[in-house]
Symmetry: C2
């Protein structure tokens, strides 16, 4: 007999099949029991009738508690009211493992309790749904860039130079030398863009920031494309095409999950190109117009981002930030020398910045000057400067934090639920 | 006018197009110049005729040195002898950036020199080809598991417990606690298998091993599937299906790259299921039959692996290793209590172990006993033991080191060429 995963059961209506899984929930009504079984692919309502199964099967179903492992054989029957449109009329019910009382029940638990039991909390329907959305978005990232002929360049995690200061870096000993955990693959991608034209990296990145907000993790995944001969206008187009694609993909392929999460999908349906584009100078005007006290040269915090985001019905791209508040490698705007060709994309509904990117300086001498102005160690950047010595070229790229993207699409306010095992201040377990 | 990538030029025969790229090579013959341009997607032979272009274009083409950035406009013409089947008859040749003398030329360079210039070496045709094979294999991994309904579970890099000793771990300070860089996501995948049924992780892993062989890197990427209700027989089937798929995919989609690498593809064409399967006891017999001095309980090194591999024409799976030389979590063989249901897959042609996996112990008390026998700290494994308390289930998984797979498929003997920026003993730059 075939072992079938629950999501595939609609293809087996009328057949006798075997399902392996765990008890998600159970209801009893006299001589009928209605266990709901989950197997990671879906939820299956079963009907166990005392007069139709053996005493052993009845007893096993009766004893089965939440999260007990079960092995059920029965007939797949159409049932419009059940999730997935089918249910199982059980013929044999086995209980290979009786669970100890499961610590997580549908009642409310404190955050600390849930985070301490993260390895079990993953089984809850909401956590399950968020991580399935993550799975879909991550695969969407891979497909998007592969289909556009980008080459994956796995940038290193262990890096030799604390190029921009060590204050937020995790440090380790590398056979007698100091090494640091990477905060971005960008510097490694630029030479690779000269080799492959279009490249991206997608891996874990690290910030040792003593920050406890819902928008920060110490370890998070970031996807970073870098494209040779792409200038700022094209970068903005790439960023909005990418975000539109990911949202569309989640809407198309995560219907059940978004329903479980009670996500208002009308807000996501709206995420279509072109996205609104404003300059930093526009943003200052918009904010002061709403009575906020900001001036040219200020960086935007969560409050400012939310006010800007709330002025639009889809993600908004803010460009041309003051040179003084942005990274040393950003290309100056030829029409406005106080600002750089950098952009941030702010998600709607208060989910904050999801993308940051820029055109990079490709002139060797200007880049060298900026490195010196920022008091960075020139010798540590020789290899990075090399990209400007051997056939330099305009190029641009951005980074997207996956957890923020997943949080927005899923509609969960805290990043800790968007990654399987979050690493936060004072949280490195399990 | 359209900017076209070189690989797409065959679709533009007869059209005037613009190509951005770098000089790969150049040949001059009187009033004709034949620069070869690369743009990361392919190589394009150009024909520049003195009498057909402006003096500026002729001069630019004349001055263009290896790796100089060029911008060429011309007509795409069929040319059977050229790579890709087309060449360009140039109308305008621009030289946006003249390269300084490029340090890497077709002549031989020492390994240290090349590794110090890894950021430039990436542009060489062989390195380019290897990393394109890597790109294809990594995407193959993602597609293989996504298409089979596995959920991606990004396991954490920063881990709290040095569960199996700290000798080969990179250590860092985590806000006053000690943390270690992950060597495997397996322990984190097993609880996730209870939540999703089929899961995998694919990320960087770390070994602080003072080892200088061609088969070791300090930082390498590993893909690890873990499947609920999968027993040892099914694990072996999954492993061989996966390897067959990846090899087939590289053969289908990396034809040019494998040609550049002069890979003997007939050896790869042969990689079809079923793979030979032998037990560890069979392997001992095979080795002693060939005069090697090994006995039950010995671990196999590179020499033994090569002798075994050379006895077969495709990857071979060795199973049922002695309990004493394998990890604490491996399920004992019910028919042979001195061995465990673990397997290693050895690639042909001396490329060594590419996969290691096992069925995991799912009995709580047996696992606890093993943890104690191995003198591991029980408290650090409570969460891992929990998987056996709350509805335990048989499950299996394996890990594949991507660099070894890429080395084998590409036919490059040293792992350092299979990852963009290798991390080796005394090598963390660039």
């Amino acid at each position: 007999m075939d072992t079938v995963r629950i999501k595939d059961l609609p293809k087996h209506v009328g057949q006798q099949v075997l399902v392996n899984g765990w008890i998600y929930n159970k209801r009893t009504s006299g001589k009928l029991q209605f266990p709901i079984i989950r197997d990671g692919s879906g939820y299956l309502q079963c009907v166990v009738s005392k007069k139709e199964v053996s005493p052993e099967s009845w007893d096993a179903s009766d004893r089965a508690t939440q999260e007990s492992t079960v092995r059920v054989i029965g007939k797949v029957v159409e049932e419009a009211r059940a999730q997935g449109g089918v249910e199982m009329h059980v013929e044999t019910f086995e209980l290979p493992s009786l669970s100890e009382p499961f610590p997580i029940s549908p009642k409310e638990h404190g955050t600390d309790f849930l985070m301490n039991h993260r390895h079990l909390w993953l089984r809850s329907s909401k956590q399950h749904a968020v991580l399935r959305v993550r799975n879909e978005i991550e695969k969407g990232c891979r497909d998007f860039f592969y289909d556009r002929d980008f080459v994956l360049i796995d940038s290193p995690i262990l890096t030799a130079n604390a190029a921009e200061g060590t204050s937020t870096l995790f440090e380790t000993d590398y056979f007698g030398e100091k090494a640091y955990l990477s905060q971005s693959g960008q510097l490694y991608l630029e030479p690779a863009a000269a080799a492959f034209g279009k490249v991206y990296c997608f891996g874990p990145t690290f910030r040792a920031e003593k920050s406890k907000t819902r928008r920060h993790l110490m370890e998070f995944w970031m996807i970073e494309p870098e494209v040779a001969f792409l200038e700022f206008e094209g970068l903005q187009e790439l960023a909005e095409e990418f975000v539109e694609y990911l949202v569309r993909r989640a809407l198309d392929r995560c219907k059940e999950e978004l329903k479980t999460l009670e996500r208002d999908v009308t807000k996501l349906e709206n995420v279509k190109r072109p996205f609104p584009r404003i300059t930093y100078r526009d943003a200052i005007e918009l904010l002061t117009g709403k009575g906020m006290d900001v001036k040219f040269g200020d960086d935007f915090g969560g409050d400012e981002e939310t006010v800007i985001a709330n002025s639009f019905d889809r993600p908004v791209m803010i460009s041309r930030y003051p040179t003084v508040i942005k990274a040393f490698y950003m290309q100056p705007d030829p029409k406005d020398p106080d600002v750089v060709l950098g952009l941030d994309m702010i998600a709607p509904e208060g989910y904050g910045e999801i993308i940051g990117g820029s055109q990079r300086i490709h002139d060797h001498d200007l880049l060298l000057q900026r490195i010196k102005e920022h008091k960075l160690p020139v010798e540590a950047f020789q290899w990075y400067l090399d990209v400007r010595k051997y056939g330099t070229f305009p190029h641009s790229g951005f980074g997207m934090g996956i957890e923020r993207m997943v949080a927005w699409v899923s509609g969960v306010p805290h990043l800790r639920e968007t990654i399987p095992y979050p690493r936060m201040l004072n949280r490195i377990y399990p």
